[in-house]
Amino acid sequence: MMIPGVDGFMYPNEVELQWSVLIVLYPYITGLVAGAFILASLERVFNVAAVRPTYRLALLTALAFLLVAPLPLQLHLGHPERSLEMYLTPHTSSAMAMFGFVYLWYLTVVLLLEIWLEYRAEIVGLAQSTKGLKRWIYRALTLGSYNISPEARRMDDKVGYAVTVIGVPSAFLLHGYVGFIFGSVKANPWWSTPLMPVVFLFSAMVSGIAGVMVLYVVCMKLRKTPIDMRCLDTIARYLFYTFVIDFTLEMLDLIHRTYESDESFRSLDFMVHTRLLFSHVVLQIFLGTLVPLALLAANQLWRFSEARRKAMYMTAGALTLIGIFAMRWNVVIGGQLFSKSFLGYTSYKMQLASREGLVAAILLMLLPFVIFFVLVKLLPPWQGGKAHEA
């Protein structure tokens, strides 16, 4: 009997995909976190003063997405209630288990600490000026420290700088590690390449920078405040640089695979030309990479009017976000469409309203924006225009 959507020979456990659209969201969301943080650190560590208006915005974006990052994994687990066992009985040979520690390190040591130090003076101010429930929230957020003397602030700034310096390699580690989780699966030739962590890292930077850029423009439009074009131009320039590196790495991987043509190549090549044609060639490479790269490159060569630049950046940013999503899709879903026997192919049938279905995925993608909205209300990123002394 033929099963619809299945061609050739598949091992019995390969017909149905083990990792669903939620596992596509996981590297996508984590990538946005790492990328947003790296954009924030541009200002702090590398003294790119032009991107100052997005510094706090980028940090809050990173936090909103980081809080959601483990949720798709939790929903996917057969036994989510056992997930904390990863921390209690760490299994060091499992790349998956060790991610828990990378995540915790990044959340607590890097992101929360940096945001707290950045906002501390304002939190203290708000704890004294607000009333009712808000007052209690801010008082809790001060963690009992009300000292905001210039000396204390200088200390905050120093520690904040140190945290960012640690934070940059940590952000690299966070997303490089997600790439490692896939890249280290030796049994899967679509995933198993040492380039995977590096490709993931650069695509994370690309998506995070594009994400913050789009979010910045949208926030400014909603607040009816003028957009700092120097800031936007600078972000777009950095997006262009990282994108060039990312695209080069991906093409390098492709050329290497094609030239090497190992035993899996025919099977993978067939898959890219059939089942992944739209999501890989059309969405990821053409619409998600070449078009935004061309738009960004044009801005490096010619000077356009402000309105046209905004439109070009926004188009490039939105296409980039779609393209990187397609890239995660092609890695996670694509890696499960072919048989490890290289003799057959299956297809992914996304469910609609189940625990791992489309509705859950959409809700999970909306959740970071809800958290972001709350964070922005609680810790307004718009003031604090002063540059860091560091």
Partner: protein
């Protein structure tokens, strides 16, 4: 979390009370041997008929094979099968341990 373990006699088993069902091991297996059990929501695999071989029996697949194509043998001594060692317990035989722990 380390739910997969090697029994003292060398058989790879999954602790059903510990597995979280993340299916990373399913992805890591090149032979398609592992799957998610739809009822327990944990990963399951061939146990090499652990319940049988610990009683000195051979595996059910070897037992039922009409032509005897399936054999339990020691890789170091493929000519001698490990079937039919009686109730004394196959796993206590040194050959068994080397057959199952050949990667070590």
């Amino acid at each position: 979390v380390g739910a997969t373990f090697v029994s003292p006699d060398g058989v790879v088993l999954v602790d059903q009370t510990y597995c979280l069902g993340c299916r990373y091991c399913v992805q890591a297996c090149p032979y398609g041997c592992r799957y998610l059990h739809p009822e327990t929501q944990t990963v399951d695999k061939c146990t090499l008929c652990y319940h049988r071989i610990t009683k000195g029996l051979t595996t059910a697949c070897c037992d039922s094979c009409p032509t005897g194509a399936r054999l339990l043998v020691d890789f170091k001594n493929p000519k001698e099968t490990l079937h039919g060692h009686g109730s004394q317990g196959l796993l206590r035989e040194p050959g068994w341990r080397s057959a199952l722990n050949r990667s070590e």
